[in-house]
């Protein structure tokens, strides 16, 4: 047993619990949130509906490798002679799906464990924190590499790995945000009523850490996208010929000067997606901080 530094620091300056009702709405008033949301929505739309607008089969061989744009191939061809535009339109789905699923899994699990730790305190809390410490000792990419080295690059494995690297960070953030909430008396009131631990966690505490959760989710999502893209870049993608923004960057990264569209379009898409989501997170963070400070 030892003192927990994070907790002590948190206790030292007890941040007023954010009046979370309105954090999200208030964040929408910030220009950065709006820009972020616009970017994110645009890219999500591209990812979801892109395939319906793709002019070609994404794996059809339509030109010479790295053919420069022409009327038939508005963004030119990639390393294999496939249409960059069609592959771009198809390529958002899987990266979005994989990163969203793994983020949901990781953040979901992290929220449950984080709340559990905050509510339990004592040795349970300590044990859970140690557990996250152990997971954190493997940097994200390293953990992913170890798992891939063991089993090979499978989609479900990448999802689980990214979720697993997301989890401990979420645990820490949520636990940190929740420690000041669980000290509040309405939690005691619920306990005195005989509410179950799970209900207290989900109904009483969780809504009060929505601000932190919102920020955390957006950040984790950007890291998930980055991690998946980085794995693809290092050559660990589940199915390299499936159109996917991450693999597109790595497969075509050499054509930066020859046919810049091929690597740049997906790279910019990834960057915009993460920047968009990140800006939304930043907006939420600022709105929450603004409410904390009593300003808007």
């Amino acid at each position: 047993m030892t003192i927990d530094l994070a907790q002590t620091i948190a206790n030292e300056a007890p941040a007023p619990v954010v009046r979370t009702r309105g954090v999200l709405r208030r964040s929408l008033r910030l220009w950065r949130t709006r820009i972020g949301l616009a970017i994110t929505v645009a890219l999500v739309l591209v990812a979801i509906f892109g395939p319906y607008f793709a002019p070609h089969d994404p794996s059809a061989l339509l030109g010479r490798p790295y053919q420069v744009p022409s009327p038939g191939l508005p963004l030119g061809a990639d390393y294999l002679g496939q249409d960059v535009l069609s592959r771009f339109l198809y390529g958002g789905r899987s990266i979005l799906l994989v990163s969203v699923i793994s983020t949901v899994l990781g953040v979901g699990g992290g929220v449950l464990i984080g709340l559990w730790a905050a509510l339990s305190k004592g040795w349970v809390d300590n044990a859970l924190l140690r557990g996250t410490d152990i997971l954190l000792a493997f940097p994200q990419i390293l953990l992913a590499l170890i798992v891939i080295a063991t089993v090979g690059p499978k989609t479900w494995l990448i999802v689980l790995t990214v979720a697993l690297t997301t989890l401990p960070r979420t645990v820490r953030v949520i636990r940190g945000a929740a420690t000041s909430v669980v000290e509040r008396e309405f939690v005691d009131a619920a306990r005195a009523n005989g509410d179950s631990q799970l209900r207290i966690a989900l109904v009483e505490v969780l809504p009060n850490v929505i601000g932190a959760l919102g920020v955390e989710t957006t950040f984790r999502l950007t890291y998930a996208v980055q991690l998946i893209a980085a794995l693809a870049f290092l050559g660990f993608a589940a199915n390299p010929n499936e159109p996917n923004w991450g693999t597109m960057v790595s497969q075509n990264s050499s054509a930066l000067t020859l046919q810049p569209n091929a690597p740049l379009v997906p790279a910019v898409a990834i960057a915009l997606l993460t920047v968009g989501v990140g800006l939304v997170g930043d907006g939420i963070a600022r709105a929450a901080a603004g409410i904390d400070r009593g300003t808007s």
């Binding site: 061989l61 390393y79 690059p153 050499s254 054509a255």
Partner: protein, 517 residues
Amino acid sequence: TGSGPSTTPSGPASGNPAPTSVPGSSGPSGTPKRGGKLSVAVEGNGLKDIMDAQNDLAKIDQARAVTGWEPLLEFDRDFKLSTTGLAESVEADGRLGYVIKLRKGVEFHNGKTLTADDAVYSLQRLTDPKLGLDGGTGLLSADPKNIKKIDTYTVRLGLKRPDVTIPFGLASYTATMVPEGYKNTGKSWQDGQVGTGPFRLTSFSPGQRSEHERFANYRLSGKPYLDNVTILDIDDPNARMNALISGQVQAIADVPYTQTNVITQQPSLVLFNNAGGGWLTLCMRIDQAPFTDVRVRQAFRLIVDRNQMLQNALGGFGRVANDLYAPFDPAYLQVPQREQDLEKAKSLLRAAGHENLTIDLQTSEVAAGLNAMCQVFAQQAKGAGVTVNVKVMDSTTFNNGFQKWTFSPDFWGTRNYLPQVAQGSLKGAPYNETYWPPKGSNFASLYQQALAEQDAGKQTDIIHEMMREEFDTGGYIIPFFDNLVDAYSNKVGGFQKNRGTLNLDYYGRHFADVYLV
């Protein structure tokens, strides 16, 4: 005694597909100049890099071996045997032996003179089955117990069975001569890594680099021109390109096929494109469904649009092939080019009961263009109603499954027909991926006949019969012969085009011909 076919210089096989001419491959002119240091980046194998004069696993190991060591015979620029190596002559001595006369006055880096003792040791080491050296793969018929010194400069190489391809084996770039007692002890390369080549190895770090220093007493006077050569292991082709562009190295092996324009756009760089005899192939295991049915194999060969595959997988840097290998062999079989015929493919598949076939194609980018070739094939197969799932994996997994995959690609270097059959198309051949020949075939006995046949004309007939069988029913889909595409700075001279087996003109013929301008 008649000389073996290999020592008989013969012209290029008449029907060979002509190498595509590629612009931008003219080197700088000028006379060679002494001095300077050359850095060359070659694709390596990371920590798997080895230093053994008679063995190689990756291209970078080749580069190192040829820099410091030489074989008895050599291939000339037309892929014909020449006696410019360490042997003055290699003569057949009956059906079961060759007599090798060593060049006199050849000095090792440590000052010792090359003698028959060294040659006997070298040949015994090469043919030691326990060592499994690459340099020995062309000497499988040799009898290790029957390698004898005749005098100080003469050695007799006895054979277990008649084999006229032995001189080819002796010309392999890894069939080098090492001093007696040579060992690849790994740690103590400083003491033992001694050869007769133009450069002496001075340092070696696996996965990183090796340093080579000019050997002043090299047997060709005036050569080499360079003082030092550094061979860098840069695995990532983009990084190699970047290193060349930013001037960190002066030459690189293997420019990615799709990126040659990057080189040609730079006035200071030279693209060095060599039409070699190497080939990429898709291997169908004829002993496994669905390829047990010859009609499926035939259908798959008809699926391929070879030209499109060449353009899209190799960016055009190669020549369309006809499901046959050994293009530089004088006996190469001339048959009409096989073209894509999806209708015929479909009807063959229907007949074989494999309509709407779905099959996995396991691949890994163990050679440039393999994955692309597989993906192009998958795309083309759609036209015949065949679903090909390309499974890309890391090289280790892929290599671990070598010879286990039902359908997978592979790559081969330049060889003549019979040596190639010995490597990959016989039962018991070390790299037989297609499990050729089929039951009931007389392919193996034809091979034995051809090996023993000293009459070139008769041998050609036998070879044609073998090639015909492979062309009709074989397990290889050979869409093209790939070119070796390298690049160097225009400050470097001395690289010359050849039909060679190795990059950068055999690494500038041991880097002896290369100079800085």
